[in-house]
Symmetry: C3
Subunit: 354 residues, 3 copies
């Protein structure tokens, strides 16, 4: 333990609200670390920016305009955990805004093999680039990165968390909420809807983040459908209780609750987090998959979502159903991440005024 380890341990003892202040600059979002930073105002801003950005990008002149906005910036994509979607959507988002990208996707090519500390690697990346987007398997690693740069160095570049440990993946939450908002645009918005989440709710960080974000909306109902072993953990449930969000736990079969849902958010079993080998495969999840024959029980106005990658939770035959929103949701990841970057660099007005 060096002195920074000790100081960060102290920082982590602070209440969430206080820590979040460390990730702001001049009262605005500077680093995107945890979904708790996302209030309704930011969510709605990003919704608006995303919609503009999508429209502008449709034409070549619009696309050229966009590429000039941040063409003087460079970003580091530091992904030491496998990722297709988050990595590529961030990279595409950068390219869309004219940001040049560098990447480390394999720790073996970096100086970590020569014994460099995580902190020193981070400071190095901050020396050469203007934005750090990172994924790491460790808990709170992105938070430490932002804390270190903001409070211990004079080279402060924004840090965006592209997944850190088992609980933090705020930009996934942003794209999920955006997709919900957009899907319900003609149905009075997300307020008042019933969100059904199923799959590995215990270990999947996306369902957890999405649950937290629901506090920003009115009259949301949540249904958690999973075998008992994979049910949503106590901490999220008590969070919902504190915010008066009604929720239901379904542990028998997905089909029991399908008819009530406005959105069905399916997740895969996170067996990479198994403590014991084959832990996951010993649990019967067969009654929590979405099969073609289930679709008749789903509302005609409902949307099916999935954060991907998927295995057999959703049959590919459902892909062509108009209610399947997951491919558009995936693509929204790129748009919302570009919007977030523009928001952090405070250049979104250029987009909104185009």
């Amino acid at each position: 333990m060096n002195i920074l380890d000790e100081e960060f341990a102290e920082f982590q003892k602070l209440p969430t609200e206080e820590r979040i202040g460390c990730f702001e600059k001049n009262g605005r979002l500077f680093d995107m670390i945890r979904s708790q930073q996302l209030n309704r105002e930011i969510i709605d801003d990003i919704y608006r920016i995303t919609n503009h950005l999508r429209r502008i990008s449709k034409s070549k002149p619009g696309s050229v305009f966009m590429q000039n906005i941040l063409c003087h910036k460079r970003a580091m994509l530091w992904f030491t955990q496998p990722s297709s979607r988050t990595f590529l959507s961030f990279e595409s988002a950068c390219h869309m805004l004219g940001i040049k990208t560098s990447e480390i996707r394999d720790a073996r090519v970096s100086s970590e093999v020569k014994g460099e500390s995580y902190d020193d690697s981070l400071r190095t990346f901050s020396s050469y680039t203007d934005l750090i987007i990172m994924r790491h398997k460790g808990e709170n690693i992105a938070e430490r990165a932002a804390w270190l740069l903001n409070t211990r160095t004079n080279r402060q570049v924004p840090v965006i968390n592209g997944g850190s440990g088992s609980d933090q993946h705020p930009t996934q939450a942003i794209l999920d909420v955006y997709t919900l908002q957009r899907s319900f645009e003609k149905q009075g918005g997300l307020d008042g809807k019933t969100i059904l989440m199923c799959g590995d709710l215990k270990r999947g960080r996306t369902a957890r983040s999405l649950s937290y974000l629901m506090k920003n909306f009115e009259d949301i109902k949540i249904i958690y459908a999973a075998p008992q072993a994979f049910q949503m953990k106590e901490d999220v449930c008590s969070f919902l209780e504190r915010h008066n969000i009604p929720y239901l736990l379904e542990t028998e079969a997905l089909e029991n609750v399908l008819p009530e849902a406005d959105a069905i958010y399916v997740t895969r079993i996170q067996d990479e987090h198994d403590a014991i080998a084959d832990e996951s495969s010993r649990i019967d999840t067969s009654r929590f998959r979405l099969r073609p024959l289930d679709m008749s029980k789903v509302k005609s106005t409902a949307v099916i979502m999935h954060p991907f990658p998927r295995r057999d939770e959703i049959d590919v035959a459902i892909d062509s159903d108009p209610r399947a929103m997951y491919w558009r949701q995936e693509r929204n990841g790129m748009w919302t991440r570009a919007a977030l970057i523009a928001y952090i660099f405070d250049v979104h007005d250029e987009i909104l005024n185009y």
Copy 2:
């Protein structure tokens, strides 16, 4: 087997001509999957575009002009088999046209490690980019990609096959034909020439593709020089017969046929395809190498080609011989691939009119 596997199996039973139709849009080439798609008109178009592109790129203003043509596009380079030349020449071709690139060169950094299907990975890349360039060790994988996007999704982006399985590598064929056409520009063109191919004709996909393409030219003669074990397979020979292209099989020594050749296309032994360990090394290929002393038997106007990588098939001392065309052939890979991309995006007129 999911439903898509079954449907694609059905598709593959169709005659080649019908399948090729699936890779066109509005009567034009949309995906570049197999060399059978290349007719004389396309070959000549690409020849012309390539020549313009090379000339324009010589100056800085020309280069800046070129980078504006497709600056609003992004490409995915998805190469899960090792590649230097194909990868880098495609990447450079993209950069030349202003296309931003993303890459996956190591499946371990992607979501395949989390059990994502090939189809889902593909659809993901199509969500974020406007062009997919791919190499894969599996047979017909690029074909399936183009088929899937064109017929089963509403996000249709062109797919270019950068090598799929043991038989398909159409852009190599394009650059080979371009190099032949350009080499014989002052000798009346490629029509009427004798092409000698040697090396591992049985398993090398480049010699096979090049043979197929010869049907687009007049009065071509082909000589295949290889030990019996590596001779050209029956399917290609009967293709030549059907198209009245005379060919000769030489199984004793390369030098026997050297004097007749206008172009000598040398290929390496593809021992990575050995079914049994050391299979290749047990076959004597020593009489099918091109040595400095052989050059006196080669026509003074002939060209020596090689798709690379090479081992000992061509002695490095030959590199400085003016007939050695392989380094220029390699560089042509970049120009022709840029031309192909411009052709697929239907922006080649901008280049031709510069």
Copy 3:
């Protein structure tokens, strides 16, 4: 051994001065291979260009101006040894000047796995790009690359050595000297200063290169502080003697010599070069680390430098000391490398005249 191996072996027997001539074009630096190429004029030119470049890059219009300078060029970053700093600073330098980059950081994705020779790989990269920046664990590999392209091919692109073998890393030397010059700008420049180097002087290429470069300055004194087993080798010491640069060997403790130093250049133990396992760890280096309590012995005007990565040679608590120059030194790597590239392409006047 092929013919090129023999010819290069002959070339290497030439005196350094003559070999250096091979890396010039029209009397100007063309390839950057060894620090012996750096004379005072080049060092001062790069100093000036770097300072301009830094200033220009501060604004968006300046940054856009810079990105137009070499926007028609492509660079290959060929790094087969792990690297964070050198790789990323070069990549950022390229992006800053508008150069598009391609990279190979893992030999397994390239055609080396198919038995391609080093020379052929190099020529391939030169076919597609306008600049090759390379790191390789082998001795003289960058030198061979430049020699091969300049004397044996007609596709001559500059080669920049980003570290080759145990002795050559000239761009590290450039950034170190730049940092020293800049640090002493208000103290009469680098001439007349005392440079203390400590750590693994025997095997660390940075301390060796920096020592060589000191011949370009007046009245420099050098102190080498290291355990006997890691002391500076005879060849460098006799080089200093030939150039009348006084030096001192301290083998007991760093603190003995700290008060005399104007610059303290700390390096880590290069245990990756251990001939026997644990060779390094058996040597006591505890008296050659820089601890917080040592800082009181250091001149108030002195600068602490480190080429990174670091381990425990410098306590992180020293990072916040104003004399700690290593993070700025690291960032200077990007600026000086951009300046070097501009210098090699002879476009630095555009920068100086902005």
